[in-house]
Symmetry: C2
DNA sequence: CCGAGGTTGTTAAATGTTGTACAAACTTAT
DNA sequence: ATAAGTTTGTACAACATTTAACAACCTCGG
């Protein structure tokens, strides 16, 4: 995750210029908090995944596959689901394949296509790792918010997620 | 930014086991929304930075330096401020140096040390890019939240940011 | 059936990142 | 002053990601 600051040392509004809608102090505080939490949380969760010999990306693949019908998914769909390029996914599946977590499977009916299929080891790994991961998520994030905050934030974020998803779709 | 899902297809609670505190439906919805927004927002903002020939990381460096006294900062401090390894920062500054945005400067009083110093071009770039970036942040995020939501979310995130910062500090 | 045009997934090369080790310089206790 | 220990930034090598190009395959209008 990267940092993006908005309002900065660079901000002035001489008369007669194109107005730039700088962030207010509160907006900026919030924006930076959001960035910092996103980044540090990702960092910390990744850290706590390391003992399991998994990177965040690996774990994400495991999650998506484990929730898919037959625990498998077409490469392109998996790339879309995990917001990666097809190339990157291809490399990543290669790595996970040599780690035995996943298998490439021919796709009946479309000889171009392949399934990424969760192996038994992949599934077991998922079972083993998920509880720890949930604990991490709780400890560093969820359990630090009240149920009301969670509801409110979800209500705030859901439309934004939708907006961004739509943008990406037609990119 | 990576995906981390908590509650998943893998979840059951047979009697007599170590209880795993799976996420409730609401918690999970929220958690996934948070992940998705963080990831897609980062993606989109990075995208809108491209026409300026800047990556998110470059922009972050520019922001931090432009807000620093004398528009410069020690390498290590800059690495800490931007949550990067020293090695990565060193490479990145090298790149930005050859792009003319930044300059390495000897550090009087500590002959080991170096400043990363914003060049005039770096400063001008910042001035040119910041308004567009602020607009992006507003359009895709801030302006989609009410002032009340912003206050509430800041109040929720600030302690979490602090927690994560503390964790990282002693890592 | 054919062929133009799209899709699928991989590959090679360039680029970026991470982890480790290192030399150089600083600090502190003796 | 000196040695032990710390801090600073870089360099190398291993690894990951991106970009562009590609072969193989599907689709669908003619």
């Amino acid at each position: 995750m990267d940092m993006h600051s908005a309002d900065t040392a660079v901000s002035s509004s001489p008369l007669g210029e194109e107005e730039t809608p700088w962030l207010s102090a509160k907006e900026q505080q919030f924006w930076r908090a959001h960035l910092e939490v996103a980044k540090l949380l990702d960092y910390q969760l990744g850290r706590e995944l390391q003992p399991h010999n998994l990177a965040s990306n690996d774990y994400e693949i495991l999650v998506v596959l484990s929730e898919s019908p037959d625990r498998r998914m077409r490469m392109t769909d998996l790339a879309t689901a995990t917001l990666q390029s097809k190339s990157r996914l291809s490399h990543q599946i290669t790595r996970m394949e040599s780690a035995g977590l996943v298998l490439r499977q021919d796709c009946p009916g479309d000889r171009r296509g392949l399934y990424a299929h969760l192996t038994e080891l992949g599934w077991e790994t998922m079972q083993k790792v998920a509880p720890d991961h949930v604990r991490s998520v709780r400890h560093h994030f969820i359990d630090r918010l009240s149920p009301e905050q969670i509801d409110a934030m979800y209500a705030a974020l859901a439309p934004i997620a939708e907006h961004l998803r739509a943008l990406r779709g037609r990119a």
